[in-house]
């Protein structure tokens, strides 16, 4: 049971440097805490208000007292052991939440003071820092973790200095993840991995309660999808890429996620991420050997090779596409034109 204790004016409740597990509550009178401010080295004094606890930090943390508690006027003080304090506080959580606020303010202040002393050598620009974390995990073939870092990067810095690079690396990381796994997540993860990782990352606002997520409703999805397509037509490829990505991450059904994946790969071409574009389309055609837009997919792959200067590969693919369609097919007409340009260029 906590005891009520009377203190005479000018007496000391405890000294700086003492070690004790007692916690005090001022019921009546006047008590001040005197201590040395660590920043200025000045002697400071804080008055305790009636109804306020003191001696809490050193008692709870079992540290030595950092201040001397001096009685200024005759006072009545309740004395608690740590156990008694915990009992009282758990019945009245307002005591704890109030203290948490006080302590968090103190913590914030001291944290800032420490940070100012570290400014010169420890501060890294958060944007670069986040990018480098992705780079580290990518380099170490921990694709799931690389993906998480890269995706977080795009959330916070959608038009940041590394956004284009990150966008194409997300595609590669997903590709590697589906082909080799990450080593860390379970081997069965690949298909679900990107969506689940994104969900865990809290990329979409509705997923913070669980790593699983119900697909968005179909009409909303259609809307999202066509908004993204319209971004492509406005040549806003980066934004479009992200919009499609969001559809996939949101756990869209197979129809829309397949479409979105295809469109993302196209965006990569326009973003001049040719290697990533090739990889993405290769993944798609491997996954869906009877893809309705197979010719288009191959067309973008061929154009990517052409842009990379690998003309023989490009020409080979163009010819393959020609063998797949008829004259009235718009893709075939595009291919014929591309082939003429390519072969004309070679002469």
């Amino acid at each position: 049971m906590p005891k009520s204790v009377q203190y005479r004016a000018n007496s000391i409740i405890y000294f700086k440097g003492d070690q004790s597990e007692r916690i005090y509550l001022l019921n009546a009178g006047k008590v001040s805490l005197s201590y040395v401010d660590i920043e200025s080295g000045q002697e400071m004094r804080d008055l305790i208000k009636t109804g306020e606890f003191f001696g809490v930090k050193s008692a709870l943390g079992r540290y030595i007292r950092e201040e001397t508690a001096i009685v200024l006027q005759d006072s009545t003080v309740m004395v608690f052991s740590v156990g008694e304090f915990e009992q009282v506080a758990s019945k009245n959580t307002r005591i704890i939440t109030k203290m948490l606020k006080v302590f968090s303010n103190q913590l914030r202040r001291i944290h800032k003071q420490v940070q100012t002393l570290l400014v010169s050598d420890e501060q890294v620009n958060p944007e670069t820092g986040l990018y480098k974390i992705g780079e580290y995990y990518m380099k170490n073939k921990r694709y799931g973790q690389a993906l998480h870092a890269y995706k977080r990067y795009l959330v916070y810095y959608p038009s940041g200095a590394f956004a284009t690079d990150v966008t194409s690396k997300i595609v590669s990381a997903e590709d590697f993840l589906s082909r080799y796994g990450s080593g860390e997540p379970p081997a069965s993860a690949p298909a679900a991995a990107p969506a689940a990782t994104a969900a865990a990352a809290g990329l979409s606002p509705s997923v913070s309660t669980s790593a699983q997520q119900a697909p968005a409703d179909a009409s909303g999805l259609a809307q999202q999808y066509y908004n993204a397509v319209s971004l492509v037509s406005q040549e806003k490829y980066m934004e479009a890429f992200k919009a499609f990505k969001k559809i996939i991450d949101g756990g869209a059904d197979a129809e829309y996620s397949t479409k979105a994946e295809f469109e993302m790969a196209k965006c990569l071409f326009y973003l001049r991420q040719f290697d990533s574009c090739i990889k993405s389309f290769t993944t798609i055609v491997q996954k869906f050997p009877k893809h309705p837009e197979m010719k288009d997919a191959l067309f973008f792959v061929a154009r990517s090779y052409e842009e990379k200067g690998e003309k023989a590969k490009a020409a080979g693919l163009f010819k393959k596409i020609l063998s797949m369609g008829t004259e009235d097919d718009p893709v075939i007409r595009k291919v014929k034109k591309a082939l003429r340009t390519l072969e004309g260029g070679r002469v």
Binding site: I38, G41, V56, K57, L60, G61, Y63, E86, A89, S90, K91, T93, R94, I96, T97, M99, L100, F103, S104, Q106, L107, R108, I110, H111, Q113, V114, L117, L118, D121, E122, V124, P126, E127, G129, L130, K132, I133, Y136, N140, R142, G144, Q145, H148, A149, R152, Y156, S182, E184, P185, P186, A189, A196, T197, A200, A201, S208, T209, S210, A211, Q212
Partner: protein
């Protein structure tokens, strides 16, 4: 309640944070990428709190957390914080104790950083490490620390190169032994007196 799969990153160093977690099941590893190395800072077990600095300020996360198993955790935000605390006095008390420890740790760090003399800074890091292990620094005992030059330089707030110089100097003075995975301080009280006198000298 949030769930993470084994291997998932819960949050990344440098990303802005507005949530913190109470681990319910599974283990969480805290790491920092320093140069080309991923450094293990700590491994947390159920009942522990992490990411708590987020409710204080929207500063970037200071470390990356990875689920070592399937992890279930309670997620707190500034908004739901008070409500959750009201209903969970034990969690609130745990957090209160954690804050006490963090305040103490930060103050201790501040004391190290405000020392002007680099040798005193490094010596004071050893004292801090000894205190963290509840070791008596007034006894003239030899103490073994599982620490590295990089760790020491981090705590002392000085570049690793400079830290190594200081440590080499201590080796030459036969005050410490430097091993790849540990540092042995021959007489911790000698460092306590050295730091104490430097601090006094500075106050004058």
């Amino acid at each position: 309640m949030v769930t993470f799969r084994k291997g998932d990153i819960i949050f990344c160093e440098y990303e802005p944070g507005d949530t913190f977690y109470l681990l319910q099941s599974g283990r969480v590893q805290i790491v920092r990428i320093i140069g080309e190395l991923e450094k293990n800072i700590d491994i947390l077990y159920p009942g522990e709190v992490f990411g708590e600095m987020a409710i204080l300020e929207e500063a970037p996360r200071s470390a990356t957390t990875i689920a070592l198993d399937e992890v279930k955790a309670l997620e707190f935000t500034k908004e739901n914080f008070e409500v959750l605390m009201m209903g969970n006095p034990q969690i609130a008390m745990k957090l209160l104790k954690l804050f006490v420890k963090r305040i103490y740790d930060q103050k201790r760090r501040f004391m190290i950083l405000t020392l002007e003399d680099v040798e005193a800074k490094v010596a004071d890091v050893f004292l801090m490490l000894a205190e963290n292990q509840s070791m008596d620094t007034s006894a003239g005992e030899s103490i073994e620390f599982k620490t590295t030059v990089d760790d020491m330089s981090h705590w002392a707030g000085i570049p690793p190169g400079q830290c190594r110089e200081v440590l080499n100097h201590f080796v030459a003075q036969r005050r410490i032994e430097l091993h790849p995975d540990k540092i042995v301080v021959k007489n911790i009280n000698d460092f306590a007196r050295f730091v104490g006198s430097r601090r006094k000298h500075q106050e004058k």
